[in-house]
């Protein structure tokens, strides 16, 4: 069967995507920019910005000079590729073979597809119309070759479909740039006055080759169908989900457990094969009457351990209400991270790296609730309340060391508690203090350590911290808020040393 190809061009790919996300930008002049040699350079400009004379490659400063209200959004590297992949996958409804054409196009192998839509014009029209509904400005072209389809989609003036075998006539009036040539070649052709492809198609190939190299010849041949050009198709990624329909409604806990076990095995097999682990899983149960119930679990490190995951779900299975029975179970893993299978240590397994700890934490969290188990890491802050923070996962590495050169209490109160004190002199610790109704006489003390506010986060008085020991040998971390010259300095207890 004769090959047919379609090329789709998105003149404003990136900015159209931004508008999809931020509809308020529709019709606004805005650009995406990224730093280059220390200045911000425009990588994509919206239609409106282009109409105002802003072009890709301009520096932001220059563009702003012409258009002071220009909005600038940070460019995300690799966005084109991601976006085109997504669009290519979307196009799979029109053809089984779709490929991306960086930076701003798609290539479709449409051989034998168009008649299903009632002809090529309606086929292409449908694709373009649907893409526009998605919010993407686009143009398309169809021909026997990728090269010709590409050319007509970008530079076509009259039609966008080149009838089979007519690519030469069709591309003759187009500019050389339509052949996808590098800029130095198009520039040279331009200088020589060869403004149209037709100007040189009849020249001897030798003469062309000597002057412009293989690229021109190759591209010309590709467009005319004398040289084959492959198309690299995309494949859609499968979401991590498994389904289990039940022939009979399931009403018993055992039945649910069996279903869960099966689903977990299916999912985990796949995860293990891909060296992935899930951080979160949702078990959805569809009841015959249309009601849907679900259990969500989370893990503190990526896991594909069926037994462990099963126990996490198992704790909560009793919360499901089967009533008349479930007819479908679905297991989804919305958060998946890579989990390289580590080689098991023969002995001395490090407790933090031990899966057992992680699994214990998961079970505790499952039973006690989300905010019941914490791991703390040191943070680079002098202000005591901010000097430690909850870690996001068990594997998180601390950015800094716990400080051992400063006196810091083992137990820091989340909120300093006011105490009554008797103080002899400025810069001296209190003689005694009353905490929770108990009077503590200070026997030994060290300090002061003055910690200033982190002015970029909050304003207020500094604190003078003292480490004190009472008669019973217990040690406390006290501080005075503010300068000792102030009218009534307030004292607080902030922590306990061991």
């Amino acid at each position: 069967m004769a090959k047919r190809y379609a090329a789709i061009w998105f003149p404003h790919l990136i900015t159209d995507r931004i508008v999809r996300r931020l509809p308020e930008l529709r019709g606004q002049p805005f650009v995406l920019a990224a730093p280059e040699h220390g200045r911000m350079v425009i990588r994509a400009a919206s239609l409106k910005a282009e109409q105002c004379g802003v072009r890709t490659g301009m520096a932001i400063a220059d563009a702003r000079a012409a258009l002071p209200g220009l909005q600038v959004i940070d460019h995300i590297p690799g966005l084109e590729q991601k976006l085109l992949c997504w669009l290519a996958e979307w196009c799979l409804r029109f053809t089984p073979i779709a490929g991306i054409d960086l930076p701003d196009g798609l290539l479709l192998d449409t051989s034998g597809c168009a008649h299903l839509w009632g002809g090529e014009e309606r086929y292409l029209g449908d694709i373009l119309a649907k893409l526009r509904q998605l919010g993407f400005d686009c143009r398309g072209g169809m021909a026997d070759t990728i090269g010709a389809a590409w050319a007509i989609s970008r530079y076509g003036r009259t039609g966008c479909i080149i009838a089979p075998g007519e690519q030469l006539q069709a591309i003759m009036p187009l500019p050389p740039a339509a052949l996808r040539l590098s800029s130095n070649i198009t520039e040279k052709l331009q200088k020589l006055g060869l403004y149209e492809i037709g100007n040189f198609t009849k020249m001897p190939r030798r003469a062309l080759h000597r002057r412009f190299g293989q690229q021109l010849i190759s591209r010309l041949d590709q467009a005319l169908g004398q040289e084959f050009e492959p198309l690299q198709p995309v494949q859609p990624v499968q979401p991590y989900a498994e389904r289990l329909p039940c022939p009979e409604p399931i009403r018993t806990a055992t039945g649910i457990e069996i279903a869960l076990q099966q689903l977990l095995e299916m999912l985990c097999r796949r995860l293990a094969a891909e060296e992935k682990g899930l951080r979160r899983a949702v078990f959805k149960s569809y009841r015959i009457d249309g009601n849907v119930q679900q259990i969500t679990i989370g893990t503190s490190r990526p896991s594909h351990n069926v037994a462990h995951l099963f126990r996490l779900f198992d704790i909560r299975i009793s919360s499901l209400e089967p009533d008349l029975g479930f007819e479908l179970f679905l297991l989804e893993a919305p958060v998946v991270e890579s989990a390289t299978a580590a080689q098991e240590a023969l002995w001395h397994s490090n407790s933090v790296n031990d899966d057992k700890l992680a699994e214990l934490v998961d079970r505790l969290v499952c039973r006690l609730g989300d905010r019941s188990v914490f791991r703390y890491l040191p943070a680079e802050h002098y202000w005591p309340e901010r000097s430690a923070r909850a870690a996001a996962s068990l594997d998180e590495k601390p950015a800094t060391e716990w400080r051992v050169d400063l006196p810091r209490p083992v137990h820091l109160l989340p909120k300093p508690e006011p105490v009554e004190v008797a103080v002899p002199l400025p810069d001296y610790p209190p003689m005694h203090f009353r905490y929770n109704g108990m009077l503590h006489r200070v026997r030994k003390a060290d300090g002061p350590e003055r910690i200033e506010q982190e002015w970029w986060l909050q304003r207020g008085e500094y604190r003078d911290y003292y480490a004190v020991e009472d008669e019973a040998g217990r040690r406390y971390w006290l501080f005075r808020s503010g300068h000792y010259g102030a009218t009534t300095p307030r004292w607080f207890l902030h922590g306990f040393f061991a």
Binding site: A66, G140, R154, Y155, G193, L194, Y195, D405, E452, D464
Partner: protein, 1077 residues
Amino acid sequence: MSYTELQVTTNFSFLRGGSHPEEIVEQAIALGYKEIGITDRNTLAGIVRAHAAARGRDIRIIVGCRLDLADGPSLLAYPADKNAYARLSELLSVGNLRTEKGKCVLYREDVYLLSEGIRFIAVPPPLLNASYRFDADFTQALEAYKEALGNRLYLAANRSYQANDNKRLYRLAQLSERLGIPLVATNDVHYHIPERRELQDVLTCIREKCTIHEAGFRLHQNAERYLKPQKEMLRLFAQYPEAIANTQEIAAASLFSLDSLEYVYPEEICSEGRKPQEELVLRTWEGAAERFGNNIPDKVAAQIREELTFIERKNYASYFLTVYDFVRFARERNILCQGRGSAANSVVCYCLGITSVDPTKFRLLFARFMSDARDEAPDIDVDFEHERREEVMQYIFEKYGRDRAAIVATVTQVHSKGAIRDVGKAMGLSQDAISRLSGSVFWFSEDINREKIIENGFNPDDAHLKKTMELTHQYIGFPRQLGQHTGGFVITREKLFHLCPILNARMENRTCIEWNKDDIETLGFLKVDVLALGMLTCIRKAFDLAKEHYGKELSIAEINKTEEPAVYEMISHADTVGVFQIESRAQMSMLPRLRPKCFYDLVIEVAIVRPGPIQGDMVHPYLRRRTNKEPVTYPSKELEEILGRTLGVPLFQEQAMEIAIVAAGFTPAEADQLRRSMATFKAKGMVSRFEKKLVEGMVSRGYDETFAKRVFRQLEGFGSYGFPESHAASFALLVYVSSWIKCYYPDVFACALLNSMPMGFYQPAQIVIDARKHGVEMREVDVNYSGWDNTLEEGTSGRYHAVRLGFRQISGLKENDMQLLLAARQQLFQSVAQLSDAGVPAAALEKLADADAFRSLGLDRRQALWEVSALADKPGGMFTGQSPEGAGEIGIELPAMSLSEHVVHDYAALALSLKAHPVSFVRSRLAVLNITPANELSGLKNGMPVRVAGLILVRQRPGTAKGVCFITIEDETGCANLVVWQQTFDKYRKEIIQSALLMVEGTLQIEGEVIHVVATKCFNLSVLLRELGTPAGEEPPLMTTSRADEKEADDQSYKTRDKRVQQAAQGELFFGGRNFR
């Protein structure tokens, strides 16, 4: 008991100290300190500032330095006397010279070698280790220090409210006792008041290249490193009274003062063992005989004698001889030079050849320099040809040695844009937010203004932003780095590094000192400025050409002997494209009004179009008086003498300063301080203090208040662009010389000017157009006739030679490649292959083809390119010279090129075209729009509505013109000057900035020969130019939407078929217009 702070880090420890040295000194005085030690890190750069601030006040600066060593704990060093200081300075020089600029690498051994007479304080690490001890390497280093430095070593103790202060002090006391090193209390001061901690934190972030949120423990944990009152320090160290007492011991022993540094001139300036004065007298009379012949006029002789006695009295002979030495060298090497400055305009300097301004020709400016009352150092700047100045500099380095001659530093200060960028980044603002914020100071105002901030989409009341702005304000004016002065030299008799640390400059073979010109002046060192001036290069080249082609021996002094009316006539008609100084738009519109008649008029012309007189609103009064529209009056009798030569209107910097002295009761020193405080915009508070003093002083002496305010504003203007009369005179000389050449030898002038590019105000295209207007034939670049430079050829007609454009006009062409071409050009080239055989690379040949330089081979650019591009498989090796395979491909016809296409490509390759002016191709279409050609404007009447169009040459928004934009456009008939008021500018900003071909509708303003069009509407006609690049009759293809495209045609979604066409449309091909402030 009293306490002296010995450890102070100022902001000359870049990105560490949070206060200016001046602020530290002021605060110390306020707190009642009698002495204070300044210890910046491995530098003495800030010490002179502190010294100057302390001068005359009740405080003494203890000169010191913190030595950060590569192999040991830091040491604070305090020299006891001049010799010890010399060693400290040498030590720093050693550290500086061994590494690249901006760094200083020192080792213990260096310190031991040069430690005599210096007292040291060892700085312990800030924290104890986990077992509450100092690390062993510190104690070991301390032992080694003790052994080497003996009882000159102390140990610093701080109490900055860290944790474990008590334990740390206890450990220090233990160490001190064990090793016998006395403790000294210091507070490691980083800022003068605790409130500066925030800025210091931000500086830390800038230094560490992080944001304040990421900075963490890199910041200090509290604000205790400020200059504390003595009482507080005594309280903190109550347990260690000896640590306080030791500060006094060190202070009492470190008595070195910068005032004791003496500057001594080098000996080499005298010959045969003469004393400097004798040598100067000898050289002066020798020179006089040369200049005036054997019969020196009595008046001149008397003047010379008077000057010489004055120089002897002031002991300036060495200075004059030093300058004379450079000038003599330059003359020997045939390098043009010209001195300027108050002392330069003396008869002595004229005789020595330092200046060519003939002091007998007009009022002797030296008279005012020679007043004994003004005890200011003589000031001579010497300009050299910019292409050859390096020779002079290397001569100086070679003659005096790198250890005796060095370039003065410039302390680069943080300006508002840089400050916003740095502080914004440290405060965690995004790149975009920062550039928008700094956009708020866009174009001229140095202030950050509230409306602009709102306009740029910020909330000025946001706390984080407010803090950012506040810190930015504090940061503006901070020293950021030590740069190299443009050419200020210090030369000494002894080793220079005994006076001041020296360091490597960024450029190879140059050394700098750490102090800038103000510091040097404070200490009474003398410097000579060796500057570069492009116009001197141009004049030199013109002289060479005149000699070669006209057989004329010209010299600056020779030309200056006459005052040719023809030259002044030319100047009066503003026919001054390319002439030194008076070629700018503003100057050109002033010339027909001022109509200079004599040399002094040029001096005024040079000085009048400057921010000073403009801001002081002195220009129009002067013009009115000059044209007799206003009587010449003087505000008072005493000012008549000062203002006499400028018709009662102060125009020069000296005049304004003299007014401050005579009329407002300033002392000369105060007046000088005033001028200087204007220059450094940081001292905002100081300026308003002076304003009050000046205005009140003048009003109390009976002057008009508005006049007083004008004088002040003028001083403000002078601050940033000072232009004293003596400099104006030297410049005026070059103005006259360049005008003279342009008037009599326009061919020589154009050729020399093009060969000295880039310089001045205009692009080569305008210079070429102007030369043709003066009847000079211009010839195209050609591989068979051009040299690298532009050259003169025998003219076919007229009085002048023809100018053959050189290869240097072709953008992107390398000189080396063209030298190959020239070497191979024994006879005329017959084919492109011959050039290629000569070794000229294909890329260069392509550029030559683009420039249409193959006409003498019978090829136009397109045919030439076709030939050149076929050279890739040219036979090589033993087949070299044979015609390539497939040569003479027949039957291939390239499309012919239209004239307009050629012009477009000429502009692309050469930035000019001799074939036609681009606008001429669209004239018929412009005529339809009723657009008047530029040369017909003068025939119209003042006030008429008019339309003009042309390529934008220059856009200018001077800071002095309140937002008015001046635009010069050019069509094929000439230039038109546009005035765009702020309101119109804001409305048509886009058109003005983006257009290449701008059309303006407005009213005509004719005042004598000065013609302006005041714009009311602007249009971008660049689209017309786009069509020039395509073959005639063919529309540039706009894409129409295809059939499958049901959407309404959106004409935006086309790809222009050619980058060049796109460029033309955007005006990039034609000069984008140059922007001046």
